[in-house]
């Protein structure tokens, strides 16, 4: 199968996934109890007039049958219109657009950090003396099992309150990014480096590694130039898990470090039953997920030439 055919199949599959995500979230929205018109008008406390409620019900097609609402929602969606936030009184795309930058920076930095740390730890500790392996893998288990808000708190206490190396939260630039990015990355490193090290240790037993050593290659080069490429394949496959962890983790981390971002928006929207925004974030997350998996698929064929030809 050619790469192009592979990609187009995946794209079609991705469209199907997006449609599924959109439909499911719409269904969830539809069956959620509570009068949507009241929420739009600011909740029961706002005491809106009956006319206002009737007006809203008409504007938002709330009295129409399910299928009409669904089709309306979908035609809007196809035009790139995610609807309007009940609370913020602005298009959902704008609301998310304002917040997506900081989150992307945070998630991207955390992903890069996690990758570098994972590779470094796995490459340096694979097949080393038992006590070192036991120590490192113990730390990894703790990191993987600890909720990220505890990791975040610990980092804050040590580096902000005690050592006063970085500010507690907020602000622009790179310095305030350090602790949140590490918080997100460390939880990932805990699980990823265990997977990568186990793979590396299997690969380092392979005959071609002996061949490479018998050519006079130094140990580190053998690990990086030969073994790592083989070992990283299963880790690439875990990128779906990584993405989910990054998106989920950013909600907590952004709140903890009082950062701007989609996570904060998601949280406040859920509190305020601002369902169009929640729906928009879910859809965009799904889209990111599809795109990342597509990229991973292409990466896979680049790393392993056998995938394409066989």
């Amino acid at each position: 199968m050619t790469i192009l055919r592979r990609i187009s199949t995946r794209l079609l599959l991705g469209v199907f996934v997006l449609w599924g995500a959109a439909t499911l979230t719409f269904l969830a929205l539809y069956v959620t109890p509570g009068d949507t018109a009241l929420i739009i008008l600011g909740g029961p406390d706002a005491r809106p007039t009956a006319e206002a409620i009737a007006q809203v019900r008409q504007d938002y097609l709330l009295d129409e049958p399910f299928i009409v609402q669904y089709l309306h929602y979908f035609t809007q969606l196809l035009q790139g219109n995610l609807g309007e936030s009940y609370r913020l009184r602005m298009p959902v795309t704008d609301a998310i657009g304002q917040q997506v930058g900081p989150t992307a920076v945070l998630a991207g930095t955390a992903a890069a950090l996690a990758l570098v740390l994972t590779v470094a730890i796995a490459v340096l500790t694979a097949q080393r003396t038992p006590w070192l392996r036991a120590l490192v893998s113990g730390i990894e288990v703790v990191l993987a099992a600890t909720p990220s808000f505890i990791i975040g708190f610990a980092l804050l206490i040590v580096f902000s309150f005690t050592l006063r190396l970085v500010p507690v939260g907020g602000g622009d630039g790179l310095v305030p990014l350090i602790l949140p990015a590490f918080t997100l990355a460390l939880a990932l490193v805990g699980s990823l480096s265990q997977v990568l090290r186990n793979e590396l240790e299997d690969v380092l037993e392979q005959p071609f590694v002996l061949t490479a050593r018998a050519r006079g290659m130094r140990d580190l080069s053998v690990r990086v130039k030969h073994a790592l490429r083989h070992a990283i394949l299963p880790t690439i496959t875990m990128s779906g898990f990584v993405l989910a962890a990054l998106l989920g983790g950013s909600v907590i981390v952004e709140t903890l470090f009082s950062r701007q971002g989609v996570g904060g928006l998601m949280l406040s929207s859920v509190y305020n039953k601002d369902l169009p925004v929640v729906l928009g974030i879910v859809l965009i997350s799904a889209a990111v997920y599809v795109v990342v998996n597509l990229i991973v698929d292409i990466l896979y064929t680049l790393v392993d030439p056998r995938v394409v030809t066989s």
Partner: protein, 547 residues
């Protein structure tokens, strides 16, 4: 007198920690001069590979190497730093492992793999390296080097891959070349080509160490042979001396274990080789009635590139009851597909197969299920056909249950009877496949095939993955079982020596067609087809290797 290239005195290698260390190599001494080829021969686990690796300082994690002297070109390497080793490996000592598919990095191009020693040990520019790699590919006999340069190992045939692996080992023009089982995964004629290539590489100023379980392989290129057993050298001498006047019983058994046309009707695995020759097996009675009749069978497949290929092309033959038909051919000759059609695992596009006068295609369902029990298949790699969680008794018990018997105690009795048939003791019945040796696994596979009391066994490369000495035991077992149970065999192998040893009749297949057929003695003494003559020439028989 100049110092030998390799000088080893009192070499011992241990694995594990002090208290529970196992000694894999014990007090070994040997020398290799420039221009000389020494062969280390022994079965798996005899310590020969570890010995080879100790010469490049790569015995691995958890190993302890002790020696009175371990010298390369007059320099003692015992206290060499990692850097000294690295500058020697690949530059002055080349190392070729078996099975090039796993010994080359499959994620890198052939060109990158061969060029790596040059990158490490020379100051050549990228362009000069490319030129050198192309020259190396030409030198090891790889056609279209420019095309191969950019390909990946899995895109090359087994023979070409092995050549590429050798090219990478000799890239930096080493003075000493180690080849660990260089031909084990290869067809006979390819293996013979690789051996010839190694021979041409052995220049007057270089030395070579060849490691193999197969005496007939090393007979072709070795000047001297050292026979290893349980980590010790039990016999060492010139190739002529070891092959024609072996002193140690183990050497004698290794020589006797090599199947060949001259070993027919003789036991291969006897401890005392002379007694073995004195006990010839009688030719099997031939009732004349054919058990298997195959008529004009053809089969084609559509490949990954959507081109239809005829894999079996108008094949006809018959097998007499109680006889062994050997089918020999190289990979891709259609012999395995023919076997699958015989066992009805594959339907032919045209033609017919009948067993015991019942044709697969026209059989009633009841006849079919009877035929299925009557025809059993044994494969090369039984490990992949066993459930790894099952014990031996459960693996065989399942087959017993499938053959229609019932009560638990009857089944248990039949399982132990079958284990006895394949010469396995009750102590093996609770083991899992992974805990068995290759030979034991193959015995379990045979026991499982016998559970249904078949009349025909289709044996598809049943001994190809085994050491020569283990192969000898399994071949002997098959011969005994044939007599005891009155079985008919269709025996498929790429190894002409094995085929000639075990068969009464031989089919030679090439590109899906039968190019030669006849009684084994006729085919061996008067081959009519050029292809058969080529196979016979490639057959390693050490009676003539050094004559």
């Amino acid at each position: 007198m100049t110092a030998p290239l390799i000088d080893v005195r009192g070499l011992s290698v241990d694995f594990g920690h002090k208290s529970h260390a196992t000694t894999v190599v014990r007090d070994l001494s040997f020398e290799i001069s420039r221009g000389e080829c020494l062969a280390l021969v022994g079965e798996s686990g005899s310590g020969k590979s570890v010995t080879a690796r100790s010469l490049v300082g790569l015995t691995g994690i958890g190993s302890t190497v002790r020696a009175e002297r371990l010298a390369f070109d007059g320099t003692d390497t015992r206290n060499w730093s990692d850097a000294s080793w690295r500058s020697t490996r690949g530059d002055r000592i080349g190392f070729v492992l078996q099975d090039a598919l796993s010994s080359l990095d499959v994620l890198r191009t052939v060109g990158a793999e061969i060029g790596e020693p040059l990158k490490l040990h020379t100051t050549l520019s990228r362009r000069e390296r490319t030129a050198k790699v192309l020259e190396l590919l030409r030198r090891v006999g790889v056609p279209e080097p420019e095309l191969r340069f950019g390909q990946f190992p899995h895109q090359l045939s087994g023979g070409l891959r092995q050549r590429a692996l050798i090219a990478s080992a000799i890239a930096a023009e080493p003075e000493f070349l180690i080849a660990d089982e260089p031909t084990t995964a290869l067809d006979a004629s390819i293996a013979s080509q690789i051996l010839r290539l190694l021979e041409t590489l052995k220049g007057s100023s270089t030395g070579m160490l060849v490691v193999s379980h197969d005496l007939s392989v090393v007979a072709q290129i070795a000047d001297r042979i050292a026979v290893m057993q349980h980590g010790e050298i039990v016999e060492e001498g010139t190739t002529e001396a070891v092959l024609f006047d072996p002193q140690h019983p183990y050497t004698k058994s290794l020589i006797a274990a090599v199947p060949s046309p001259t070993s027919r009707r003789r036991r291969l695995s006897a401890v005392d080789a002379t007694a073995a020759v004195a006990a010839p097996r009688l030719p099997r009675p031939d009732s004349g009635s054919a058990l298997v009749v195959v008529e004009n069978v053809s089969k084609s497949f559509v490949g990954a590139d959507r081109v239809r290929r005829t894999v079996v092309d108008d094949v006809s033959f018959s097998v007499a009851r109680g006889a062994t038909l050997g089918i020999v051919g190289e990979s891709g000759s259609g012999k395995t597909t023919t076997a699958r059609i015989l066992a009805n695992l594959e339907n032919p596009d045209s033609g017919s197969v009948s067993i015991d006068a019942v044709s697969w295609s026209s059989a009633t369902p009841a006849e079919r299920s009877r035929l299925r029990r009557q025809v059993q298949v044994v494969y090369q790699d039984p490990l992949s056909s066993f459930d790894p969680r099952f014990t031996v008794s459960r693996i065989i018990g399942e087959a017993v249950a499938a053959s229609g018997r019932s009560s638990r105690s009857e089944r248990a009795a039949r399982v132990s009877e079958l284990l006895g048939l394949v010469r396995l003791g009750p102590e093996h019945s609770d083991r899992r496949p992974i805990e068995l040796s290759g030979g034991q696994r193959q015995r379990v596979a045979i026991a499982r095939a016998l559970a249904a009391k078949p009349t025909l066994l289709v044996l598809d490369e049943p001994v190809s993955a085994l050491d020569v000495s283990v192969q000898a035991q399994v071949l002997d077992l098959l011969t005994d079982l044939q007599d005891e149970l009155d079985l008919t065999y269709v025996f498929i192998s790429h190894d002409l020596g094995v085929i000639f040893h075990i068969s009464d009749e031989v089919l030679v297949m090439k590109d899906g067609r039968i190019v030669e057929a006849g009684a084994v003695d006729d085919v061996f003494s008067r081959p009519s087809h050029g292809y058969t003559r080529g196979l016979l020439d490639a057959l390693p028989h050490f009676d003539s290797a050094r004559a």
